[in-house]
């Protein structure tokens, strides 16, 4: 996220010394609200990753277990809140990059509806999926942050007109339980997770049931195609979004290039990381003439199917609960050699990005290794206020959000 102070690196060596001449709108709004910005955090390079291990600059560990990853891509922001370095922070969520690290670090993380928070100044990864959102220790923290950062921004054409979707006071009535809450679950999903995650989810569903919620079994038939569609759309957009990091106008430039082609090729070769290169290649391929129909356009069709699945599901329920990730925080280096395995960390989170709907992760347990587990709640577009109340119902009935890593006990 661009700030007019300090460097804006996106965890990449290609922007290692890049200082933005302006603030992102979300940052500007925080500053206008007298927020004290105490620092910027580490992330997977250009938000590409699920463990923050892809940072080209720094390593971030999980405050609950220093040999574990904090999740990603906004791992630094989640870890900072978990380690009590700050009460709240911002992240960006393209495929789960707020919710998954929130889950791994035992904090609350909210991905708002696409268009709710301005993307101006958010360095783009997958422009049609990216959304800025808050981390906090509690649901109220996230609501407080939303009160500051949400709203239309004329500088972002994709930010939504407030006459179409008014911005409510997210804190008002946050403690009021939702009457007659209908909560959707997909039983089949749970099976894909670790036992501890399955148990925590079932317990969480019981908590809601006891709070008076009706549990509704729903069907999301195209859910299995989400990862494939996501990795085509996100990488296609990324291949274009990242084309500007070429060593010509700013950022790292190779020494002594023979010609301008070498300025491009060497600068990028030297300063972009493996995963970023992999996704640029994937995206470039997906957009190439002759392949565009089979990959990119096909993926857009799948995206529409997933969106309509969710719209249909929300006719039956107010919100959907499911795991945030199939596992708790894994060990550093455990999945770095297996990108596909890493991509599967996002299996439960990417549908919300493809459909543009809001999702939240709230702490809902600890596994046998004393690692946090997150509960994901998804709600229809622009219903963040209700989503926060539903999350607060769980939080009010449990004390998982009060658990701290041993580091700060």
């Amino acid at each position: 996220m661009c700030t007019s102070f300090g460097a804006t690196t996106c965890g990449s060596r290609i922007l290692e010394n890049f200082c933005a001449p302006y603030d992102a709108t979300a940052i500007r709004k925080l500053l206008d609200a007298d927020a004290v910005l105490i620092g910027k955090t580490n992330m997977d390079e250009f938000a590409m990753g699920s463990s923050t291990e892809n940072s080209g600059l720094k390593q971030t560990v999980n405050p609950w277990a220093p040999d574990r990853v904090p999740g990603g891509s906004s791992g630094g922001s989640a870890a900072a809140v978990a380690a009590r370095l700050c009460p709240v922070s911002l992240g960006s969520d393209t495929g789960g990059s707020i919710r998954q690290p929130a889950s791994f670090c035992g904090v609350v993380g909210l991905k708002p509806t696409y268009g709710r928070v301005s993307r101006y100044g958010l360095v783009a990864y997958g422009s049609s999926l990216d959304q800025i959102g808050p981390f906090g220790r509690t649901v109220a923290d996230a609501a407080l942050m939303m009160n500051v950062i949400a709203g239309h921004d004329p500088s972002d054409s994709t930010s939504v007109d407030e006459t179409v979707a008014p911005v409510p006071d997210y804190l008002a009535g946050i403690d009021e339980p939702v009457e007659g809450l209908r909560l959707g679950v997909v039983s089949a999903f749970n099976a894909g997770s670790e036992a501890s995650v399955q148990v925590a989810l079932n317990v969480a569903i019981d908590v809601y049931r006891q709070a008076g919620a009706e549990i509704v079994e729903i069907d999301l038939p195209h859910f299995d195609y989400a990862i494939a569609a996501y990795y085509v759309i996100a990488t296609a957009e990324a291949s274009s979004n990242l084309a500007r990091y070429d060593g010509v106008h700013y950022g790292h430039r190779t020494a002594n290039p023979a010609d301008y082609i070498q300025v491009y090729s060497r600068s990028r070769e030297e300063a972009l990381g493996q995963e970023v290169k992999r996704r640029i290649m994937l995206g470039t391929y997906a957009l190439s003439s002759g392949y565009c129909d089979a990959y990119y356009l096909k993926a857009l069709k799948v995206r529409n199917l997933i969106r309509s699945d969710l719209v249909r599901a929300f006719e039956q329920c107010d919100a959907i609960v499911m795991p945030v990730a199939p596992t708790t925080a894994f060990k550093i280096g455990e999945k770095t050699d297996d990108p596909l395995q890493m991509y599967l960390s996002d299996i439960y989170t990417i549908s919300a990005n493809l459909a543009g709907i809001p999702g939240i992760s709230v702490p809902c347990g600890l596994d046998e290794d004393h690692l946090p587990i997150g509960l994901q709640v998804l709600a229809p577009a622009f219903s963040e206020a209700k989503l926060l109340r539903i999350a607060r119902m769980f939080e009010a009935a449990t004390d998982w959000h009060r658990k701290k890593p041993a580091l700060v006990e």
Binding site: M1, C2, L15, Y120, A124, S240, A243, Y260
Partner: protein
């Protein structure tokens, strides 16, 4: 050579810079000639995290232009990214329109000079952002100036309906006239507001068959002259090359050439058309443009009478020559001024002469248009009426018009001040005529005798009267008096 004939086939791609206040996707002002990189912001510099915001005026201008070019205007259009790496393109993609251009299937009527017109079909018209400029200065590096980056460009592509260098020029000139009429572009060639890329080849007929020469695209021409000459040069060159090598059009042998203005030749730039893959896809940072029928109607309401129609109307309605009508309609401001003057009264031909021979000359000298001369159409109409009434001579009218521009005074006052009012008082003039007759008895005799030279003699007497009155006598009235004297 006698058994060979050929047809010239040209399609034209034109980039027209729109005269919006700000760039296509940011709030930087459009400029020309400012210090390098002084009209830039994070958006047009392609900084990380910056986002484009569409300039609605550019879209309206483009739709207006598309309507004037008889295009179908899309009620739903969108923005696409066209990817290629070049240092003057900061994002390494250009925001353009790919499969849903804002205008399509139109045509333009071009004048052929003989009063005839020809219809050239237009394939598409779409809006896009311009790139910056690479400056190849001294040393083993280049510099990039991004002042121009993000400037709104309307790209117009014609069918290959153009069949000569003269037609290419006529189309370019007519397009410039239309864009200026609509007020959507200044069309200033010196500032690169219009850039042309003709695609040229020949269809050759010989006893042994029909042949097409390989297509040549000439890049980036920014004057009418260069456009016309490059096409004329290509016609010659392609014919010679065909006769020499027999090369004909094949898939992939289209080449790109540049125009060398010093040597007046085209120069090969790229032999084979590169297999460009621009990887078009919809720009996720922008929302599609939807226009309601009412919105389109509002834009259509801004359409004015187009120059060629106006030119033809002047010929039919006012009896002007095609040439004069062309001069009057070259600029909308001239034509508007002309019509306001005609409405205020006075003979259209007289007004046309005053405006084209004096008004436009003065405007040109001052580097402005007709209205900038500061004279009122009503005053010019008065001047024309005075001339028609014989109060002043046609020559005096020109003098008075110049004085009007300089002093801002009314024509009748100036006629008095400059002593240019013609003496039309028959009584007064008759006295003078009598004097002259008395002074030239032999001439009078000559006329009375019905001599062959009597006509010339009458002219002599008229000249004497004019001389005596210092040119202020109304020659028409004097002639009448003279005629009466000899009846």
């Amino acid at each position: 050579m006698s058994d060979i004939s050929y047809k010239v086939i040209v399609g034209l791609e034109i980039h027209v810079q729109l005269c919006t206040k700000t760039k296509m996707f940011c709030s930087c002002a459009l400029g020309f000639g400012e210090e390098a990189n002084s009209r830039v912001c994070p958006v047009c510099l392609g900084m990380p995290g910056s986002l484009p915001v569409m300039n609605g005026q550019a879209v309206e201008y483009s739709m207006l232009a598309a309507m004037a070019l008889n295009c179908e205007v899309a009620p739903f259009t969108k923005w696409d990214r066209k990817s290629y790496y070049y240092p003057d393109l900061p994002k390494n993609y250009q925001i353009s329109q790919y499969d849903l251009p804002l205008g399509s299937n139109g045509y333009i009527e071009i004048p052929l000079g003989n009063g005839q017109t020809k219809r050239i079909r237009i394939i598409r018209a779409h809006l896009e952002e311009d790139a910056g400029k690479n400056l190849h200065t001294a040393g083993n590096y280049s510099q990039v100036d991004l002042n121009r980056a993000g400037t709104p460009l309307l790209e117009i592509v014609t069918e290959p309906d153009i069949n000569s260098a003269e037609e290419v020029r006529a189309l370019a000139v007519e397009l410039q006239r239309i864009m200026r009429y609509l007020g959507v572009s200044e069309g200033d060639m010196q500032k690169g507001h219009m850039r042309f890329e003709p695609n040229i080849n020949l269809a050759i007929t010989r006893p042994d068959g029909e042949f097409k020469t390989p297509i040549v695209e000439v890049k980036n021409l920014n004057s009418f002259r260069a456009l016309e000459r490059s096409v004329a040069y290509e016609i010659e060159r392609q014919l010679d090359e065909f006769l020499e090598t027999g090369r004909t059009l094949e898939m992939g042998n289209k080449s790109t050439r540049g125009w060398n203005d010093d040597d007046q030749v085209t120069v090969l730039q790229r032999e084979k058309e590169e297999a460009h893959d621009y990887r078009y896809f919809p720009d996720p940072d922008l929302v599609p443009v939807t226009t309601t029928p009412e919105g389109l109607q509002q834009i259509r309401a801004q359409l004015c009478e187009l120059p060629l129609l106006r030119q033809r109307r002047y010929v039919a309605e006012y009896g002007l020559s095609d040439y004069d009508a062309g001069v009057l309609t070259a600029e909308r401001s001239t034509a508007d001024f002309f019509e306001q003057t005609v409405t205020a009264g006075g003979d259209p031909k007289r007004i046309c002469n005053l405006l084209t021979q004096v008004g436009l000359k003065l405007a040109n000298e001052r580097g402005g248009d007709l209205p900038s001369l500061g004279i009122e159409p009503g005053a010019v109409a008065d001047l024309a009426k005075m001339t028609d009434a014989g109060t002043i001579s046609a020559t005096a009218a020109s003098t008075i018009l110049e004085a009007m521009v300089e002093t801002g005074k009314a024509p009748d006052i100036l006629a008095d001040e400059l002593n240019l009012v013609q003496k039309s008082d028959a009584g007064e003039l008759e006295g003078i005529v009598d004097q002259i007759l008395a002074e030239n008895p032999q001439v009078v005799e000559q006329i009375k005798s019905g001599d062959k030279k009597s006509k010339k003699a009458m002219g002599f007497l008229l000249g004497q009267v004019m001389q005596r009155t210092k040119g202020q006598a109304n020659p028409k009235v004097v002639s009448e008096i003279l005629a009466r004297k000899f009846n």
